[in-house]
Amino acid sequence: MLASLAGYLGDLDRAEEAAQEAFAVAAARWPETGVPDNPAAWLVTTARNRAIDRIRRERTLAEKLHLLPAPEAAVDEFDDSPIKDERLELIFTCCHPALALEAQVALTLRALGGLETADIARAFLVSEETMKRRLTRAKAKIKAAGIPFAVPDERLLPDRLDAVLAIIYLIYNEGYSGRVDLGAEAIRLGRVLAALLDGQPEAHGLVALMLIHQARQAARFDGDDLVLLEDQDRSLWDRTLLAAGRAELNRAVELGGGGPYVLQAAIASLQTRERIDWPRVAGLYRRLAELTGSPVVELNRAVALAQAGDPAAALSAVDRLDLDGYLYFHSTRGELLRRLGRDAEAGAAYRRALDLATTTPERRFLTRRLEEL
């Protein structure tokens, strides 16, 4: 509804205001008159009419008046024409890279997720006042700087889609915070995006990745201890989410996808199989490392190599990486050295990892590994 109004009015603030007014009118009227046949259309039309009234009142310049479209229908007559879906335009506006990253996240949750400002503030650990200012500033920039309310043309689309996907994944990774389940919200947004932009493999890839992660959510923690994939209780996995994730992955592959999200989803999917095909996982990590140039991905590739039965090759891959400040670099080295029977070096690596550990579960895990040597 907000997207449709924002598209019509070209202004997020007005759209929000108008939507609130329409709900207020509905709350007052529906108990007496009954709910109209098409409540959504009723709300949109009412909101539009209210917004137009308001704009007319606000604008005193006579020449502006004739530029405004006339209300198409009085509040009580309705056609059954479907409401134009403008959520796609809205998401590209909210995730425009000319806005600060934190503003993009907040706007997306507010305008597309329909979350309350107070809940978004709580999820990101800032005061409601700060979040309100952040949203106001972002909306003011959209208007003043002329950030378009449009799906980018073909030349811009790949970059802008990347930006949108990054925001959704960022929201997903915030997880469950305060009263809002941001993980579920991100999946919902991703699904809307993938459906509206069907034909974009990376959008399906991201949805697949989030669904497969989500399916394993209940098994990832034992108290606050992180449970490694190989030790997870598979009976806790959500089979429905897993199947939905694999279906999205298949769609992405059908579309010829091979971008970072599709690769990550394919890796996550392989890792949920009864028998994990580690050489294939290592191969996918290799492709992902080539695309992203990320040493952390390369570290994961090394782990897959070790799981595939070649800890020596894994160790030589790890030793080429420049990740000295990274806990998992040292814990991975420790694990590989242990498997190769080089216990003294393994101990040194685990101790280095322990120095870098910041959380109690990490420390507990590493101490246990050290004791087992």
């Binding site: 310049l61 425009h96 000319a98 700087a145 002329g146 950030i147 378009p148 449009a150 980018p152 811009l156």
Partner: protein
């Protein structure tokens, strides 16, 4: 909508370009004037030629040099008429300084009503 494009660069950065690159950049700046979005523009003399002026208590105070003492200095400005921010960004990204280590700041102008 009208936008100002402001070109910032570290002085001397252009000197690192080869003659061919510099000639190509010059041609691109001149071609800007033929873009349908171009309204007006100017290249500025180096920052050392700047004088900053302020008036306090009725007295005009002068300082040698540009207002902000930053590594990157304003080297040129250009006013354009673009459909929206994406349209303006497209033009900004095509300006040579943006890929030669400098920055193009895009600012909407206050609209005339």
């Amino acid at each position: 909508m009208q936008y100002a494009l402001m070109f910032y660069a570290e002085p001397g950065e252009e000197a690192e370009l080869s003659d061919a690159e510099r000639a190509a950049a010059k041609a691109e700046y001149e071609a800007l004037r033929d873009d349908p979005r171009f309204v007006s523009g100017a290249q500025l003399q180096p920052a050392e030629t700047a004088t900053s002026v302020r008036v306090a208590g009725g007295r005009t105070l002068l300082t040698d040099g540009p207002f902000a003492d930053t590594k990157e200095v304003l080297g040129g400005i250009c006013l354009i008429e673009a459909a929206n921010l994406d349209d303006a960004i497209e033009l900004a990204a095509a300006i040579p300084v943006a890929r030669h280590g400098g920055v193009v700041e895009v600012r909407p102008l206050v609209g005339l009503r």
